[in-house]
Subunit: 320 residues, 2 copies
């Protein structure tokens, strides 16, 4: 069983990436505290470079490469925040990044990757096509494949958000992060439990994509749920590596409905005046709905990102 | 001619309100800097308590009242950010606030004032009805009327945003604030020119509500323009007090179209991941359009507020 990166590896990652990422602010909000009956400290990775925490793991992976390996560039397949982060981090290191994206990706997502200087390679919209296209690119170029979460360097990088949060805000009772493939949640759990063993670590997950919840229940990795969720960053499933870490170190997975995600997202927009994507709201909703027991506690929340299409917002038109 | 509050009065105001307001962050954004070809420092009053800079002036006015006067409460007429700020500041002082609002105000605006504990008094949607209703309330209660900008305590309070910005960011070449009734712009101009005489002070104004621009051209206060603007916080006109200050201390009023306001607002949402209302974008648009000469300069921008109705956003539906 892979135990994931340890705290020294995470702290080494922090040193490695500190010049390339933003130290994001920790925000608080009186009215959300009242709704949750808790004291919430929001780690604002929506304000991170490229608009999500993915920049942490991508930078750590890319700046971990040897000079020789780096020179051949990197490859990844992703249609979301990891793709943009890999493109940005590769540019900072001055190496090429090839990003395999499904041909039905939105123009906005393609533009984000290209805006950071990544080379987009389109493929059919299936996981098989993505993987085989990425593998062909690797074989042809000698570039290094960087998986979005099945990689200790990625997990160590994502963990640095929790490190900053726990250094800045003392005596946290709980920390919540969204879970998808599990890179962020497993990194958060390793960092938080290493720095503060008594802390409770909770994952937030959409009910409509509750494979992590079910996997912890059953004790083995469950397939993706069939449901649709607006939290489009949370559709991946755990891998053996992240499952092992989460099983050992995460206390609870809290699932939330689409309506609860929407309400939490709206509350953050309206009350905090910051833009978070639905995936971030998945870590807020368990508090606002009081789904997790946090009464009177000091709770850290990782707001994972702020990228979404302003022309397709989930807010309804006014009632007729 | 009233010269407005001087720097000592502004600094006294800052002392008075510091416990009641947030010290808002100053944010920067690489991609907006590139669009403007300048280095921009955003003073985030959208993150201020009640969601706008109005909390500064309202707190200064309300905490300036004698114990005896304060006991009778305060009255104002406003359907926007000033109303919410007065209600909030009054509650902090533990005194009643009556807010006269037109009967066609949106539910969201009424709820904001009531949420802060203000007493809403509805009236017909005309300026005459507002004023007469407010005057009746004052006559009947002994409460103090607090005008949204024709008041040195208000102007001194609004000026504290610029004080914080100039203390934190040195060597600014220019500062831009939106202009409506002129409380924020005149306070900003007094503070900025007092602290840094060589600084250029610019007002941003919608072309469709360009009365301040025309007033500076003609040398007398011009009536409101007939046009409609999405910057609904900027529909008031200057008063003698603010006009005199702005004439003396503001170097330029830059006007921007509705499309430019929309694009600037969208750029801030997308790139900075913070929510600003259209009135704030009016101070950003002159830079992004390069309407004002700011090439290579260090420019401060007062983002005035972040209150808007998420069910009526100005972003279009996707093209068919």
């Amino acid at each position: 069983m892979n135990a994931g990166p340890d705290l020294p590896a995470i702290l080494a990652g922090r040193e490695r990436i500190t010049a390339h990422i933003h130290r994001t602010p920790v925000m608080t909000c009186r009215s959300l505290d009242e709704m949750a009956n808790a004291r919430i400290f929001f780690k604002c990775e929506n304000l991170q470079r490229t608009g999500s925490f993915k920049m942490r793991g991508a930078s750590n992976a890319i700046f971990s490469l040897s000079e020789k390996d780096a020179a051949f560039g990197v490859v990844t397949h992703s249609s979301g925040n990891h793709a943009a982060a890999i493109a940005c981090a590769a540019r900072l290191r001055g190496i090429p990044a090839w990003v395999v994206m499904p041909e039905n990706s939105s123009r906005a997502k393609l533009a984000a990757v290209e805006g950071y200087g990544g080379y987009v390679t389109l493929c059919a919209p299936t996981l098989e096509a993505r993987e085989s296209t990425a593998n062909k690119l690797v074989a042809g170029s000698g570039a290094t494949l960087i998986h979005p979460y099945n990689d200790d360097r990625i997990i160590a990088g994502q963990a640095t958000a929790a490190v900053e949060l726990l250094e800045e805000i003392t005596e946290l009772d709980m920390v919540i992060a969204p879970v998808s493939g599990g890179g962020l949640l497993s990194g958060t759990a390793i960092a938080a439990k290493s720095m503060r063993p008594a802390i409770r670590v909770v994952g937030g997950e959409p009910k409509n994509a509750d494979d992590a919840f079910r996997s912890l229940e059953s004790g083995e990795i469950e397939p993706a749920a069939a449901g649709k969720t607006m939290a489009d960053g949370l559709r991946a499933t755990l891998c053996e590596r992240t499952f092992a870490i989460i099983r050992e170190r995460v206390d609870e997975i809290a699932t939330v409905t689409e309506e609860e995600i929407l309400q939490a997202m709206r509350a953050v927009w309206e009350r905090m005046k910051i833009i978070i994507e639905p995936s971030s709201a998945v870590a807020v909703a368990p508090l606002l709905t009081r789904r997790v027991r946090a009464e009177g506690m000091r709770v850290g929340v990782i707001l994972s990102g702020g990228n979404l299409d302003l022309d397709h917002l989930p807010f309804g038109a006014p009632p007729h």
